[in-house]
Subunit: 282 residues, 2 copies
Amino acid sequence: MKVIESVQDMKKASQALRAEGKKIAFVPTMGYLHEGHLSLMKKGREAGDVLVVSIFVNPTQFGKGEDLERYPRDLEKDKRLCKGEGVDILFVPSAGEMYPENYQTYVDVEKVTKNLCGLSRPGHFRGVATVVAKLFNLVRPDYAIFGEKDFQQLVTIKRLVKDLNMDLDVIGMPIVREADGLAMSSRNSYLSQEERRAALNIYRALRAAKKLFEEGERSAGVLLNEAKRVIEIEPMVVLDYIKLVDVEMMEDMERVEDEALLATAVRVGETRLIDNIKLRKT
Amino acid sequence: MKVIESVQDMKKASQALRAEGKKIAFVPTMGYLHEGHLSLMKKGREAGDVLVVSIFVNPTQFGKGEDLERYPRDLEKDKRLCKGEGVDILFVPSAGEMYPENYQTYVDVEKVTKNLCGLSRPGHFRGVATVVAKLFNLVRPDYAIFGEKDFQQLVTIKRLVKDLNMDLDVIGMPIVREADGLAMSSRNSYLSQEERRAALNIYRALRAAKKLFEEGERSAGVLLNEAKRVIEIEPMVVLDYIKLVDVEMMEDMERVEDEALLATAVRVGETRLIDNIKLRKT
């Protein structure tokens, strides 16, 4: 596994791979890798000839007062995990490499970023779209693989690629959960034992609403009330939002006929967690 | 010369060229071609193996009340001129091809677009950066050639390419002028005979300030006053701005020691014209 730190070297490496006719699969991450990330890498291995992973805790997607500084990092462990997944190139640029002096260009995906996390984290998706555009231009992948836990991010990146006529396929992969149902997240490492237990209520609430839907309930209000009722059983879980949105445009729905995304963000102590589940008529 | 109208066909054509190892030179235009554009094409022919020209009157870079609808168009003449310059591919997408339903992604280059035309045309450079990013992703050129008449645009595109880690060289080419000094522009076709004569005062004013600089004057205030004095001799020429800025960041300068751009925008009747000249210590 080749570890690349500079933007120039990454550019050259990907040019050389393309000249050889290799198909490049790419998994961009912020590191502190878990089974969720590894599932993306496995998919990448299948999709392309060569697997590139990036680890970059991107400062432009964190707001003031968010957890940029304390975001968990363990590069040595991440390297071991990447090697284990057969990663060919690990790209670990510094912030100075990605945002040199006088950096000033940002990419805005406007509509799909308005709702959900876009409401609670102004500027977040602008930072995401910008760094992903940069990484795509550096790595020039044929396939890029993202997890569905950050569903709004996945939709944003699909839009970015389509709108800016970028030449790659964006692949979304299912959420990977702990045995007890908690969606895997690097931020789970922030949780105390008590918080960790309380956090189980998030997925419990999503499943409760899904169950109602599967029993025939179509009113978003009723479905959301059921989810909220379950969330509120656990006072340590403080709701940021819970919404039913269409899976393309991330707009609120009043009724769910065929398909919707039930998405939530909560705080457990100091930790912000997100999760979602698809409701789909079978 | 191949004429391509669809985004998909343009993508395929450029993929095929890259697979053959051809270097692509690209000249994006809004059509109604003149000698200025042709000079860019000549440079493109020299720089690459294959020359791609686009003609697209990009709606997102026009503000309300600007001249989008009446912008001059003559595709048949443009095709003849392109053939004459040995253009290999002429890309002429429709607005619907470039901005389909639910289009929502925009590229902002923040600092270098603040001053000059950025002050008078809010949103203009956002539209320019967005369409150029899209065109670059579709054509994937090795070289892109722009004229220095739109100097702030050239600086904006250089920043865009650098910041987003795009893999191409942006080449700026000198302003081409009519025999009497008027900078060539598709918008010159709007001018009445009387306006056309009055417009000569623009370049006259730039040269007057440059002469003072060459005689040793270093105060931006004094240099600009000289340019304004000459502009005001002609009451049909109404000043939007005239400024001395540094050539990298487009920021106002108080003194010009080594180098500056003297840039102006005026109205002559209904027509907005821009021009500029470099002051450089010899």
